[in-house]
């Protein structure tokens, strides 16, 4: 009864929101957005594009125009990784037992696969300013590789301390690059390296550098979260 009642109620809310949006004249109709009166128009402006130097405008926005958001976003991930570690900090811990015997192929194949994934992720991260992708998916792929290792081997335990160091250093470097912008240029996170030619690998100023840092940070954070989820308190 509660389910039906709730469904009607909340679907009603959804319909109401849709109706309200349709009634709003300033709200553009789906599929016919006019960018000319939006900030986004400026991002696609040729002068701005060559100033930032990133062919992928989304990357230009994520790391360039709204780099501060990204710093915050990394921080969110950082703090939730911290929190997960905080909640799972037991006196004695052990690997979660997945209860299946990995065979030889799986054990070693997974390591090979991990290597491939690492390379792929590095490619994605470093080409973030040219092609879709970038630090977040790249970092996540690194983490997925680690996850794969965990799944393939029941005894596998990564070096959490290493992740922590990587996480801390990458994060610090991010902020330090930002501060360098404040010192060398005029404002925080400002680009202080020549942008180069749009479309080339070594272009877009600090964007690739930051994206690499983001990739490392995201990767290590998610990996440590995964690690935390795969440990449990050792029952004595």
């Amino acid at each position: 009864m509660k389910k039906l009642f709730g469904l009607i109620l909340f679907m009603g809310l959804g319909v109401l929101i849709i109706l309200a949006l349709n009634n709003t004249i300033s709200f553009p109709k789906f599929g016919s957005v006019d960018l000319s009166d939006r900030v986004a128009d400026a991002y696609l402006d040729n002068d701005n594009v060559s100033e930032v130097g990133s062919a992928n405008i989304v990357t230009a926005i994520v790391v360039g125009y709204r780099g501060f958001d990204t710093l915050g976003e990394v921080t969110v991930l950082f703090i939730s990784a911290l929190g997960v570690a905080f909640l799972f900090s037991f006196k004695k811990e052990k690997r979660l037992d997945l209860k299946f015997k990995p065979n030889f192929m799986l054990k070693h194949g997974s390591k090979l696969l991990f290597g491939i994934m690492l390379v792929v992720s590095l490619y994605i991260i470093t080409h973030g300013h040219l092609t879709p992708g970038g630090g977040f998916p790249g970092g996540a792929i690194i983490a997925s590789g680690v996850l794969l290792l965990y799944l393939a081997d029941d005894k596998f335990r990564s070096n959490i301390k290493g992740f922590k160091v990587l996480e801390g250093v990458a994060g610090s470097l991010f902020v330090i690059i930002g501060l360098l912008g404040l010192i060398l240029a005029t404002s925080f996170l400002e680009n202080f390296i020549a942008s180069g030619t749009v479309g080339q690998l070594l272009s877009a100023g600090i964007i690739p550098i930051i994206y690499v840092l983001i990739g490392l940070k995201v990767g290590s954070e998610i990996a440590s979260v995964v690690d935390n989820f795969l440990t449990e308190e050792e029952s004595a």
Partner: protein, 83 residues
């Protein structure tokens, strides 16, 4: 445009159905897997909406990592539940 609307209608409808099933499924693991499927459909939607960056990220993070975290949580408690 018409094709876009038709396909997006199908994708949207499927997503709604998956979401409803995920919410109402009896078993938690089914619910989590349905969520993963929903996430995959979202990737399709993102691609259709010309957002490749988002699609990649959602594919890796949304449907991959989040699902595995859910599964791990369920796994880690499974044997205790049997007791």
């Amino acid at each position: 445009m018409l094709w876009f609307d038709i396909i997006s209608g199908i994708v949207g409808g499927l997503m709604l159905i998956l979401a409803f099933l995920a919410i109402n499924s009896k078993k938690l693991i089914n619910s989590v897997l349905l969520l993963s499927g929903l996430s995959m459909l979202a990737v399709v939607a993102f691609v259709m909406l010309k957002a490749p960056d988002v699609a990649i990220t959602e594919a890796v993070i949304g449907s991959g990592l989040v699902t595995s975290l859910f599964v791990f949580t369920l796994l880690s408690t499974r044997k205790e539940a049997k007791k």
